[in-house]
Amino acid sequence: MSTPYIQVNGYLDERGQFLFKGETVFSPVLTESVPAWQLARALCGWDPLSFYGTQLRTPQGQSDARELQMSALDTMRMWSNPVSLRHLKIEWSADLERFRQLASALADALVAGRIVPTLPAPGHSPRWRPLDAHLFADMPEEDKEAMLRWLTAAVEECLLHPTVAPAWERVENSIPAWSKVDLFHDEDDWHIALGFREDKRPFRVGLQLVDPAHSSDDWELNVILQDKADKDALFSWRGQTSGSELPLAWQSHYQAIEREMGRWVAMFPWLTEGSRMSEALSSGFSPIRSTLTDDEAWIFLTDLSQSFRDAGIPVFVPAWWERVREHRARLKARFQSTVGSAVNPLLGLNATLAFDWRVALGDVELTEAEFRQLVDEKRRLVKVRGEWIEMNPTFVGAAKKAMDEARKRGLRLSDVLMDALVDSRQEVPESEDGEPRLAIEMELNKHLQEWVREVKTAPVASEVSVPEDFQGELRPYQQMGFGWLYALGRLGLGACLADDMGLGKTIQCIAYLLASKRDAANRKESRPSLLICPTSVLSNWQHEFARFAPSLVVRLHYGQQRSGLETFASDLKGVDVLITSYTLAQMDQEILSSVDYHLVCLDEAQNIKNAASKQAEAVKTFSSKHRIALTGTPMENRLTELWSIFDFINPGYLGTLSQFRQQFVYPIEKSRDADRIATLQKLIQPFLLRRLKTDPAVRLNLPSKTEAREYVPLTAEQASLYEGVLTDMLERIEQTTPMQRRGLILASLTRLKQICDHPALMLKNSTSASWRQRSAKLDRLLEMIQEVRSEGESCLVFTQFVSAGELILRACEEELGERPIFLHGGVVKSKRDELVDAFQNGRHGVFVLSLKAGGVGLNLTAATHVFHFDRWWNPAVESQATDRVYRIGQDKPVEVHKFVSLGTVEERIDEMLQNKTQLAEQVVGETEQWVTELSTDELKSLFALRRDWVDG
């Protein structure tokens, strides 16, 4: 009996994969089929790359499958490797044997890079063949086809590998001829176009388009031979008759030239006219047509020239074409206006200006009439004053639209200013119908140039002298701020003075009001100014006016005795400054708007941050020559707050709210668009002056300020209440509408914070004897106050809850024997002034304040310690409160203590605030987090109580 052997049959499938089946032959009549896995071990037991056959697959992935699948490269490795199959007796089918015989030669070709792409039949993709044609020489067509499929599959396996793929991508991306195989009929031509083979002809054959002398004539189309050795040597080919002008050595290539033109005409039949091709070739003339109409020339230049280049045909177009293509068509407005110049000031940014249009197309500048006349001719390329220019329909349409729009709404000073501040070549936002809007370039006359320069240099043009009756001294940066207000006021432009708390916005404003009075007197004018501020700082302003500008007649519009509509105007006679509150500005809007003011000034202008609020709407109705906003926090949370302030100082300058949202809010708040941030900064920069205490230029020399956190645990009682509120919230949150959800979150947050302060705030029971011990926070606060007082120093205690304030009052009285004073929203103005006075004069050493009522406007430099009993979301609000103490006039180091209940939402908020890097810092320098917009999971992790910190 002979030795059993394995008989293997198989084939190469369409995708270039081999499929094998084996059977063990014991005798001619006794055979047994071999499972695929066993066949894999038998064929590849030697092969480490396939893990000795274990990683080969069966087509269906079944363990009992009989068919084994191997990739083109794996099979090539098996058959070409000398160590494989040496110890096995295998009989290959005749088909497979033919492949096997070629495996080594193909593997050699592949490793040596001796492979060539083949030009496929139309509609198919290129394939790969060995460079050495003899490998396939005597093969039947069918076998040749199978071998090509195998090699192509093997090459494609290589191309997909990560070390090869980038090089393959470069080929695909940079060589259009690879995918445009239909443009080629000859493989050599294709290889030359691919850059795979060198073109041995001494010249290149191409097409040349020549422009006519007059734009109404036809264009000339020539077949051109370019000498490769001298690229400037171009010869027109007019069939073989032109031979006498050509170098002799080129004669042997004439047929190649005709073949080339035949290829062009096959690809682009319109290149020849009718039967001219055959006639021309037989008569030795060029078969290519010699003229193109204006429209055809346009299509040739813009579209077909690229197709020719893709097909490997050099194209020569007039030299000016590249220039025309690169030319940016521009629409210019040329101003002649004297409006807005120093001669004619105080007109505001909404003044409209007279101008003419100029359309710049390349080096040619057209008047509006010339432009419209050319548009009517409906030509793409026209020759004007000896220069070709392109009438791009997109530009023409956009220019006409921009002209019509500008004619309707007019061009304003604000447009001129924006153009000067922001690079007008930047992308211009889309118009409302979604089409791109054309940027209009502004050509300013001398007057307007001077006006722009004045606006831009207002911050440094502070040469104006401080009025002599100003009773004080401005620091250098305050002198500059005063000069800036004055310069903008002279130009009739609104200003937002946004210096840090404590840098003296008040006195800069007072100095400006004095200067305005002086100027008005010179002009024999007299108009009062209106100052609107929070109720809590009305007296502060009165005091500051009395101290620094006693010559100004200041009147308060406040209280029951204030003027009514009938007497208001007459009562104002002789008054320089009228002070009122935001509440009254809204309530008495009719009365207050019955007079024209010189200036309307908003103190703590963040009060109008909500543009839709009645307060904001009311203050914008008061008519005045000039508007100023004072604020330490021009933006607490959102960009729209900044818009609202600008809508007050310079109405319309930042567009409508919805335009502003589209142009800035969405791109900046959503994706931190750096370009938009930069643009917005440029736009607001002339009208917003903000100095920080930390600016070296301010040179404040304030004493040091140290901030520390006081971490306190919750008591067991607080912890169980805390968890109760949290569970309740999480149970209810899923059943709420978005609006209810926000309300629920905010209410729960308030409760959690109250519990962190003291359980009694929620339970309303503070009668038991040991009530102080129920909150470690209160206990620690009392200890610290005691320490401060024993050093003879004073302190402020800020809380958000009036009830917490009352608890602190009572605890201080009982435990320390000292009843603090308490300022909250319910305290009337006269009482407030008394309290502030009592504290500043040292009659009281502990001042409890509600954050809302006492956080702004007050001057409480007698304190050296500030306690924040509970935490606010926005650090700006906390630092504003702290700045009651840390401001000009403070000469002692200030210590700030922030209480944080461990393991609670307070600690989590504190962490978030310390990690903040948010939008506002990029624009004007503030920040915020929005708790109500968090997901339920995020809320859970923010609010959850970590019990390891609970006391007892």
Binding site: R77, A112, G113, I115, C158, A167
Partner: protein
């Protein structure tokens, strides 16, 4: 043991070309003999193909 180590150290080091260097040499040779001035992108591609094929075909 010590002797073996010492002799191993004394052996002159032969620096084997890397697979990439080998592939580059092969394609440079191909350029010289056959295809003439093939463009850079193709030289780069054939070099990478050659390098990868050599690994997969264990050559």
């Amino acid at each position: 043991m010590q002797t073996t180590k010492a002799s191993a150290k004394r052996k002159p080091r032969v620096v084997e070309p890397t697979p990439t260097e080998l592939a580059e040499r092969r394609i440079a040779e191909l350029q010289r003999t056959d295809n003439g001035t093939m463009s850079e992108v193709w030289v780069e591609l054939l070099t990478r193909v050659s390098e990868h094929a050599a690994k997969r075909l264990m050559r």
